[in-house]
């Protein structure tokens, strides 16, 4: 964190769907950005700079799309910055945007992130044959399934934990009008009976492929104070952190990656959090496959190693639990990959601002947004709160 205080003063997202055939990529971004600006009671001309992120360009097959999107985002003649950190990019992008204000360079920054999976083939893009190696890759699920299996073996977690997470997140998603998946008829049994795609990961324990975008308007202390004076609660950024680690390092722990834990420790320290389980009121974490909830509960300090699944099983992470996790329905309900991290950061901010609607948790003072990407090698987190840091 730099010297100047920063807050989230506007949040917008699209209706996420499998195919948003009614809009182009530019139109998708305009929908999210327009809503964020309206929420901040600003117009395009109020924005000093735009920071944009998305997952790898070969998903949609358009290289450096930020160049053609500059006009649509109203930043002709303004600074524009592109961020790349694979699946964690939505989080990293918001952090980079916040730094432009904390460093004293800008007052109002619009940050946006997106993916239009209907115009791409992510499963293929994540399974490109690597020369001289057997073509065994089967998307993100194929990559992460062995990590999940290692977690289950190490923690001795019972098989139903993954299904409980999927059920909870899909039920939370029913309360979120923007969520892609709305499955009112989902049950524990329907999840259990769904196809085993990448054993031990079932179809119903897997995120969907979504079209969608998320946008945030970040403001300086002066901008945020003005919003507060008009009755619009800012979400004050109390800490931000990013970490990365090499995927092909011997002795790297893929279940509880060191980089993820150090990222959390750093951001908590900035935000004055000494006991994460007690001090944090709500968490949006990046859970694309259901078993990542207990894994990240341990990696982020909410549970001791091997104990995260017990929180899930006891209902602690439910909307009415003592540490609600993925109130929005999370990545398991909505996965426009590049935007998925920013949706986590945005939901944390909505909870603090009290604008989360039917999935609002009572009296949230501090919330955590988390994103990870690549082969569990990129991590981005922020802590937002009702109080000025």
């Amino acid at each position: 964190m730099g010297k100047e205080r920063v807050a989230v003063v506007g949040i917008g997202q699209t209706k996420h769907e499998a195919t948003r055939g009614d809009v182009s990529v530019a139109g998708l971004l305009r929908e999210a950005a327009g809503r964020a600006l309206a929420d901040a009671e600003m117009t395009w001309s109020d924005v000093d700079a735009v920071v944009i992120g998305k997952a790898p360009d070969f998903f949609e097959g358009v290289m450096m799309p930020e160049l053609f999107l500059a006009d649509a985002l109203g930043c002709t003649g303004k600074p524009m910055f592109r961020v790349h950190t694979a699946g964690s990019v939505g989080g990293s992008t918001a952090i980079v945007a916040s730094q432009l204000i904390s460093a004293g360079i800008h007052e109002r920054v619009l940050t946006v992130a997106f993916e239009k999976q209907s115009e791409s083939e992510a499963m293929w893009a994540l399974s490109l044959p690597i020369p001289f190696t057997p073509p065994l890759h089967a998307g993100a699920g194929g990559y992460f399934a062995p990590h999940v299996r290692s977690y289950i073996r190490r923690s001795k977690a019972p098989d139903h934990i993954g299904m409980l997470v999927a059920l909870k997140d899909r039920q939370n998603g029913l309360k979120n009008p923007y969520a892609h998946l709305h499955e009112p008829d989902i049950t524990f049994d329907s999840i259990k009976e769904s196809m085993m795609l990448w054993d031990p990961i079932r179809y119903a324990e897997t995120c969907p492929s979504s079209d969608g975008a998320c946008a945030l308007v970040l403001g300086s202390e002066k901008v945020a104070d003005e919003a507060a004076a008009q009755g619009r609660q800012p979400a004050w950024i109390q800490g931000t952190a990013m970490r990365s680690e090499p995927t092909l390092s011997a002795e790297r722990d893929t279940v509880l990656p060191l980089g993820g834990a150090l990222c959390a420790a750093d951001v908590y320290k900035q935000a004055g959090i000494t006991n994460p389980r007690k001090d944090v009121d709500a968490v949006e974490m990046y859970v694309p496959f259901s078993w990542f909830e207990p894994m990240w509960l341990e990696n982020l300090g909410f549970a001791e190693p091997g104990e995260g699944w017990k929180m899930t099983e006891a209902g602690a992470t439910a909307l009415d639990g003592d540490l609600p996790v993925n109130m929005s329905g999370g990545v398991l309900c909505t996965n426009p990959i590049g935007a998925s991290g920013m949706l986590r950061f945005g939901e944390a901010a909505m909870q603090v601002r009290g604008t989360a609607g039917d999935h609002q948790v009572d009296s949230v003072r501090k919330a955590v947004g988390h994103a990870y990407g690549g082969g569990s090698q990129f991590f981005a987190m922020w802590v937002v709160g009702k109080d000025k840091p």
Partner: protein, 209 residues
């Protein structure tokens, strides 16, 4: 918008919403020094690991650098063609571009003498009998078909030895101390042993060397 008159032949045709246009890119890939040396070993039916110094970790297949040390890996060490399954995935999903017949089992295999698991196919055993700790061996193509590719190993199959129930899964030892909180204590950079000097670090490390 001006009125557009479609010819009669198009008037009842459903509007086109999207067009799928598969693209193809042919390219020459140069594997670089480290991979070339590894693949040269493969043509001799040898699996050659690389390490930065005689005491550091053995990388298979090597990318030319030890990421922990930030050092080149000039030393070549032949590793065994048998190893232990450290984790695996049974893939039941057919998808665009995949040439594999489903279901198939891709496993992370820690070859004896190596410090990093490779991903390869497991065959000659039903998918639901594959397990962590299972001992497996490489099955090569016929000699005439050996090429400089890891695909020259067709797959791995069980050796029939007893399972290595204590298989040292890379990273797992760290998991109890570094990538998480233990006793409510947050990890810090100080809990990490400096791999260059071997100093520092408060977490227990096993299986060193």
């Amino acid at each position: 918008m001006p009125e557009i008159q479609l010819p009669a032949s198009l008037q009842d045709v459903e509007a086109v919403r999207s067009v799928r246009t598969p693209a193809r890119l042919d390219y020459t890939f140069t594997p670089g020094d480290a991979t070339s040396r590894f693949l040269a070993g493969i043509t001799q039916k040898k699996i050659i690991g690389q390490q930065a110094n005689p005491d550091s970790r053995v990388y298979v297949p090597a990318r030319g650098a030890d990421p922990e040390l930030g050092a080149a890996t000039p030393i070549e060490v032949e590793v065994a063609q048998v190893g232990t399954v450290t984790s695996f995935c049974v893939v039941n999903l057919q998808f665009y571009g995949s040439g594999m017949e489903i279901p198939y089992t891709s496993a992370l295999i820690l070859l004896d003498g190596a410090d990093l698991s490779i991903m390869h196919l497991i065959q000659e055993i039903p998918a639901d009998q594959v397990r962590i700790g299972m001992r497996v061996e490489a099955v090569w193509r016929d000699d005439a078909d050996i090429e400089p590719t890891l695909e020259s190993i067709k797959w791995f199959r069980p050796t029939g030895e007893p399972d290595d129930v204590n298989v040292r899964i890379p990273g797992e030892i760290r998991g109890t101390g570094l990538g998480s909180w233990v006793g409510g204590v947050a990890p810090t950079e100080l809990t990490v042993r400096n791999p260059r000097t071997g100093e520092g670090g408060t977490a227990e490390f096993g299986g060193e060397g």
